[in-house]
């Protein structure tokens, strides 16, 4: 069905003279990787060397000067076709110059931007806060389940991968300040891919970013919203999941000059959890710092340090961090064989401070083509 939609869309683009301006682009990445031979959730194919691929399509149609339809389609080596972004953007429609985007939108929380795609990501993976699954699931749970999940890769991510969700965004600029206000079905940790909503609340996001000088942008965002699924057992109404709102605040920075680019982000998040033994606030701090330096034309070096630091909570009979802290170094080099042909060699070292698999690593060679 999804493929039929894509084919129909492509035919429409090819045939329709009404599509005054159409933008088509894409990125294809193939990789060969080897991870540590552990049973850790971070391990890929149990450490066996393996190939993989990713495919991204970008299809835009500018209907009028003020109206643009945008879509991102991604396919990864599990062969699932995902419509990551399907949105209609209305720009400068009113005298106030307001811009609105609705549909499956990019949630304005953080500054990941185009680095979510392999051509712009100087490394292979995303920072831990976008990829690592914590011990907390998005449904009603018990302290025992959270304890059992520690380091297992079964719960929510702090920021759900690409951060796309169904909703609407109002955005614009005042001088050097950019603002965005969004309302979405899910929260930053429970983005709703399919359109099915799991509770009656919507998440709210407010973001401000200031660019005091060219090359320096500092942003901050705050979000809140119910993150738990309505339970089917025990029956609905036992716990009002809509009153348990995830809250998160973040700050991010982008600085560039000459041949160096630096990105950073820190997120402090609280999940209020209705355990059967009582309510508990589970909090986590996620952070990363990433730098890229072009050494000579074609060749760059990049390094990222990211981490997740879990707050203390009383679970079972003990008090301590509710999940194992994680830190990660990812470093590598990229070489542009041609303008849009990038070869990356990346090494990642992950430390899980507790559990059965304290050390993990990944070495990957990736070839990316953008078009």
């Amino acid at each position: 069905m999804k493929i039929a939609v894509v084919v129909a869309f492509a035919l429409w683009i090819a045939a329709s003279p009404a599509a005054a301006q159409v933008g088509i682009g894409g990125q294809t990445a193939v990789h060969f990787l080897k991870s540590a031979p552990t049973s850790s959730p971070l391990s890929v194919n149990n450490g066996r060397p393996s190939f993989g691929w990713q495919l991204y399509f970008f299809l835009d149609g500018r209907v009028t000067e003020h109206v643009t339809a945008m879509s991102n389609i991604s396919v990864t080596d599990n062969e699932y076709l995902n419509f990551d972004l399907v949105a209609i953007r209305l720009t400068n429609l009113t005298p106030l110059g307001l811009n609105v985007e609705a549909g499956k939108v990019d949630v304005p929380f953080g500054n990941l931007g185009e680095r979510r795609f392999p051509r712009r990501n100087p490394l292979f993976g995303l920072p831990l806060m976008y990829e690592y699954r914590t011990a907390l699931p998005d449904h009603l749970t018990t302290e025992a389940e959270v304890l059992a999940n520690q380091g297992q890769g079964r719960g929510m991510r702090l920021l759900d991968l690409g951060l796309y969700d169904l909703g609407g965004v109002l955005f614009g600029s005042w001088g050097i300040v950019d603002y965005a206000v969004a309302v979405t079905n899910g929260t930053i940790s429970t983005t709703s891919y399919s359109g099915e909503v799991s509770n009656s609340d919507v998440a709210k996001v407010i973001r401000l970013a200031v660019t005091p000088m060219t090359g320096l942008t500092i942003g901050a965002a705050y979000t809140w919203g119910a993150y738990l699924e309505e339970p089917t057992s025990p029956p609905p109404g036992t716990v009002n999941v809509n009153s348990y709102k995830q809250k998160a605040v973040e700050i991010d920075v982008e600085f560039s000059r000459g041949h160096a680019v630096l990105y950073g982000q820190a997120v402090y998040n609280i999940w209020p959890v209705p355990f059967d033994t009582g309510n508990e606030n589970l909090n986590v701090l996620g952070y990363y710092l990433e730098g890229k330096f072009t050494v000579i034309p074609r060749l760059y070096l990049a390094l990222r340090f990211s981490g997740l630091q879990f707050g203390h909570a009383t679970l079972g009979n003990s008090t301590g961090p509710w999940d194992y802290d994680v830190t990660e170094w990812e470093g590598g080099a990229g070489y542009f064989a041609e303008r849009d042909v990038l070869i990356k060699l990346v090494r990642r070292e992950t430390r899980i401070h507790g559990g059965s698999w304290p050390k993990d690593n990944l070495t990957v060679l990736q070839l990316t083509v953008a078009y």
Binding site: M70, D106, I296, P297, R298
Partner: protein, 250 residues
Amino acid sequence: MTKTTWKIAGWLLPAIVLVGSPPASAQPGQSATQGKGVAFSEIRGKITITRKEESHDMHMMDPLLGRYSTQGRSEGTASASPTAMPPPRLSDKAVVYLESDELNQRSYPVPDKNPALDQENLQFHPQVLPILVGTTVDFPNRDNLFHNVFSYSQAKEFDLGRYPRNDSRSVTFDKPGLVRVYCDIHSHMNATIIVLSHPYFATLNDDGTYAIPRVPEGKYRVVFWYDRDVLERRTVEVRAGESTVVDFTY
């Protein structure tokens, strides 16, 4: 050196300079001149574009440009919008130059003033820049955001990094050939620098006319370059005292 030697040198030197002097030194109106045993003339003409630029809209719209602008004014997503880009002028995209082994074998002085390849309104201006080998080109940034100009062409590899508005970097092109220039941040931006071994080239006036002055007598191929490629080559013979008119239509 004897007096006679100085005298001979005094006669020879202007002749050598005359033969080797770049056409830019000629004044408009000196379409056909003759002097010191070497005859010059002018090649001139007009470029007419009749074709609709079907690919223009497609190329101007980069799907990723501005896609993540809800996140703020980062360089990749800056409030830059492709809709704000004015269409390039004909004079930005078309040049005419000569091909000749004979011309390539001579040496020519590089211009005193550096030509510029501007970055403005998220475009390069001009989009085609012909230069003499050895020329230094300036790359001023006229936009209120960063660009990162680079080229991986065989004739010249460089990466200028990011620098702010009204700042500039320079590159000397010491090898003839084509240099494809891009911006690493705004992937739709591109330009071509045609590094020639001789200075017999012309950019266009706004009305599409061009003139290559002080071309020595002989046979040449006149090359019409438009946008990213050569569109047409035509062989002409330049005779003393006659302007050679070569019009191109695309």
